[in-house]
Structures are given as C-alpha cells and as structure tokens.
Amino acid sequence: MTSGLTILAAGPGSTVQDAGRVGYLRYGVTGAGPMDPFAHALANRAVGNPAEAAAIEISLGGIELTVDGGAATVALAGGSFAVSLDGQVLPSAVVAELQPGARLKVRPGAAGAWCYLAVAGGIALPPVLGSVSTHIRTGMGGLGGRALQAGDRLPISSALPAFHEAGAIVTPMLDRPPDRIRVIPGPQDDHFAPDQMEAFLAGPWTVSPRSDRMAYFLGGPTLKHRRGHDITSDGIAMGAIQVPGSGEPIVLMADRQSTGGYPKIATIIGADLGRFAQARPGTSLSFEAVTHADAVAARAQEQAFLGGCIPVEPLVRTHFPPEFLLGLNLVDGVVDARS
C-alpha cells in the first residue's frame, strides 16, 4: 500500500491546493490555488517538492491528521498556527517526520488565517483540467471537489525519495504583518477622483468576517465613483480590489470568478497576496501604492528565496546520530567560546 495522510479531524474550509488551474479562465473556470502562494510554495520547497505541488491548505478551522503505510516528511508554513506532534509543541513553520500513527495537530495560533501542509513527494490525486486544486463552489478538484473531513485519506506520491532535516523553518520572509499592503493602482483607477484614491490608500480598512477564499470584504470609508459603478465585465486578477455601488471595497482572491463588472481601483502586488490573505477578520490595514518595477523586484526576491535552499534549523535534539555529530565542527565551537 502506498502511504497516505488520514484526516482525523478537520474544521470547515481546509482543502487540497496546488498552484492553481491554469489556462481555463477563458472558459469561466476559477483558477483556485493557494490563498497565500508564497507560504504554499515555501512548504513544498522545504520538503524538496516543486513549489507547485499539491498541499493541504489549513483554514482557521484547524486540522488533525496522521500517516499510514510508512513515515512521511511534512512541512508547515503560513500563519503562526499552533502545531503539535503527539503532544510535543513544534514551531509553526517546521519540517517534521511523521511516524505511522503519530498525531499532528494544527490549530489557529497567534496570527494568520491560512497554513500549508506539504508532504515530501506530494499528494497524489487525479487532476481536473490540469490541476488538483479544490474549488468548492463548482465541486472541482481536490477530494471530491469538497473540503477535507474526518476519515479522508490522501495518498502520498512516492515519486521523490525523501531525505530532509527536521527543524524550524527560519526566515524573516514569513514575518509579514498584514498592516500595510502594497498595490498597483488600476486597472480602473481612472474611475476614481484623486481624493478618492487617497482615501482608499489611507483607509484604515477592517477585514470583514464575511471574507472567504473567494473574496475579502473591507469596511472603512465609503469610496465614490466618478461615473457610476457599472462597467462592462472584464478580466479579474487575484488581488484585484473592486469597488461596487456600496463604495466598500472587495478584494478578489483565489476562488474569484474569472470576470466581473465593477471598477477595480487597484491590485495587490504578487509578493503581498499572502501577507494580505493572512489578515484575519477584524484586522486593520491600509494600502501603499508602488510602481510596477517595485512589484517585480519584490516578486524576484521571493522567487530567489524559494529557488534556493530553504533554511531549516534543528530543534533541540534528544538523539544524536553519528552523521549529525560528524557534521558539527566542535573545535571551532571551542575557539568561538574563548573569543
């Protein structure tokens, strides 16, 4: 039997997501994919998977799971969730080996709304239109097109041999307070007078509890349109901030429809999509306009980080295998202590 992850308990809204469905927006098919693309890619890279591999997106509902059929290496990254393995507390961004029967619990922690669990080798589910990403509204992808629930089993692809150092994923790139979000104005910024653009940037905006994978609703100042709120429908990018007749912005996220008919005042830059997605309901935030070049530079920095070796620091050890001891330069340690 191939090994697999078995879900022991799951709150609402945890799903399987790869990098999203590409090429079918033109047919009205939602791209889906991770709410926090950076954290999703990071979790995958930390266990040696391609950044696009299928992983579990854990919602604020939390999840509890185990592995069968052999040990599995998993990585968690995203918001600051509370993670424990058989009762032992782990960092929220971590690479860990799961022995068969071990119970991994992931619950909402200090901050953040989404956490990604990647398993070395990846989750093996049949793709729909080229992707295993779950889109619940149309029942597409993932496991039966729905959220995960207790009793579900996700087969692990054994295509990749796994050797991974367990430990904390340590990077300032996961330190992303969602208080100030960078945007590029447009595509319909000309539907708003300059004072309305200023009001939009300054906010402050509060993330509404209505928010979900499709859209985050923002409460704050009421924005006025220059000439009506109806436009002929056009394409919608992830992170597009549309302003309907009510004047309260709606940020369109991973499960957005492919097209829409409200003016979009600005679009969140790729490198801040995850930062924004991690804002829980009630979070207060504002926006900062940046240039296209700034956004590309931020994106390049993220890609360079993900393309390199993901820094993992060992947890406090209770077991010292010979290869671990040989890897340590004990003499230098002594010299350092004297200086």
Binding site: V22, G23, Y24, L25, R26, Y27, G28, V29, T30, V128, L129, R137, T138, M140, I184, P185, G186, P187, Q188, D189, D190, I231, T232, S233, D234, G235, I236, A237, M238, G239, A240, Q257, S258, T259, G260, K264, T267, I268, I269, G270, H292, A295, V296, R299, A300, Q303
Partner: protein
C-alpha cells in the same frame, strides 16, 4: 496605472492597463460590441499563435484581453511590444469562428419564465419563442462559472432588463435572457435573469476531449425542440455525445 489619459479610446490604439504586475489588460473599448469583440479575439488568436515565453494565460472578454504573465520571464515592455506587433499584423491568423445549432426546449417546465417574459413585453409566448429562435447569437465570452457563456445578438424587441431581485435556482442548461443579452448556464444556480428555455447540450462536459463546446467568437442559433425530444437529447448528452450541430470535425 492608465496607459493613456484619454478615457474614450479610438479605433486603432488600445489602452494598456496593469492589473498588478502579472496581468496586463489590453482594452479596445468600453461597450459590448461585435467590432470590439472581433479585435479582442484577433489579438487573442495572434498572441496564442506566437505564444511568447512567459505568457501564462489569455482571457478574452467583451472589450479587452487580459494577459496573465510572469514578469520575471517576460517584461511588461516586451509584452506590450509583442502586442503591438500582433496588432500591426492583424491578418497573421484570423480567428475562424464556428457556427452551432443548439437545441432548446422552450415549453414548460424548461422555459420556466417564458410566460412572465412575454407578459413583461406584452407579446404572445409563441411570438417570444419565434423571435428568440430566429436570431443568430455571438458567443462573446465565458464567465461566472465553467462553461457559462454570454451571448450577444438578442433581438432588441425581446430584450428585457435584469430582474429587480434574483430568482431561485434554475436547472443546468438553462437558457437565460436579461440585461440585453442571452446566456447559457451550465450549473444549477440562482439568477437575476429570466429562464426562457433549456438546452440538453452540455457546454461544459469534463469527460470530453474538448470539455468546452464553444470558443469565444462562435455563432449560435437555437433550434426549438419539444419536451420529449429534450428528454431524448438529454440522455444522449449525459453519455458524452455532442447533441448540438456544429462544424464537421
């Protein structure tokens, strides 16, 4: 950021609008119009043909083409340059739209709202169906849900506005009119439009080699069928068969 200061673009120069750093909107106008749509689809075809490295996907809509791209592989300037070259050589690959004859049952219960529409317009139900089935429609774009198609070409004399408030869920395959347009739905869902009929054809059939029947730019006529024919065609469609008549394969 707006590419031009002019809000009413002329016929030749489209506007380039950034939708973040990884999507560029090439906008040819602001209305639902066959000429604007033709320019969008010509650019869509030309760019698909060239397939420059770094383009992720193309989304044609009524009046613009959204180009999703990877700005680390294809700079915005290089992309805009590719677009301008495509526009300068429009005959490189003309889109070749197909025509489809799509069966449609207008009888109750398929045409749930036909009576309501007819009374809104002050015409007989027969006359409504006749006019709807006599028109040729153009598939402008998909949106809203997989395979959900927006069609232009609804005769003005049967054009009704959207409902003041949405109605309950309709059946998959519902043929809808509202807001001056016609559409074919693929999933059961509530709508702000009126259900004039229902097609047994499946515009989205994931098990088919080509899951989506229509390409934007294709033309359509509806062929009235009775309830018995609808049932028979539905069974054939459920088994994967294409029951609309299209171009010879």
């Amino acid at each position: 950021m707006s590419g031009t200061e002019d809000n009413t673009p002329d016929d030749t120069v489209p506007r380039f609008l950034d939708a973040g750093e990884a999507a560029l909107v090439v906008e040819f106008g602001s209305d639902v119009d066959p000429g604007i749509s033709a320019r969008v689809l010509a650019l869509d075809a030309a760019l698909s043909d060239r397939a420059p490295d770094g383009i992720r996907e193309l989304v044609p809509t009524y009046r613009s083409l959204m180009i999703h791209y990877d700005p680390l592989r294809l700079s915005r300037d290089a992309l805009a340059g590719q677009v301008m070259e495509c526009l300068a050589a429009p005959a490189a690959k003309a889109a070749s739209p197909a025509h489809w004859t799509v069966p449609c049952c207008y009888d109750p219960p398929c045409g749930e709202d036909a009576k309501e529409i007819a009374s809104l317009l002050g015409i007989a139900a027969d006359s409504l169906v006749e006019r709807h089935a006599a028109a040729t429609y153009r598939a402008y774009m998909y949106g809203f849900a997989p395979g959900y198609t927006y069609l232009g070409g609804l005769p003005p004399e049967i054009a009704v506005p959207r409902r003041p408030s949405p109605r309950g869920s309709h059946a998959p395959g519902a043929v809808l009119i509202g807001g001056g347009l016609c559409s074919i739905s693929t999933f059961a869902m509530p709508t702000g439009w009126y259900v004039i009929g229902r097609t047994p054809e499946r515009l989205y059939a994931p098990e088919r080699e080509k899951p989506f029947l229509l390409e934007p730019g294709d033309t359509i006529t509806f062929e009235p069928v009775d309830a018995a024919a609808f049932e028979a065609l539905s069974r054939r469609a459920a088994s994967g068969e294409v029951v609309a008549r299209g171009p010879a394969r």
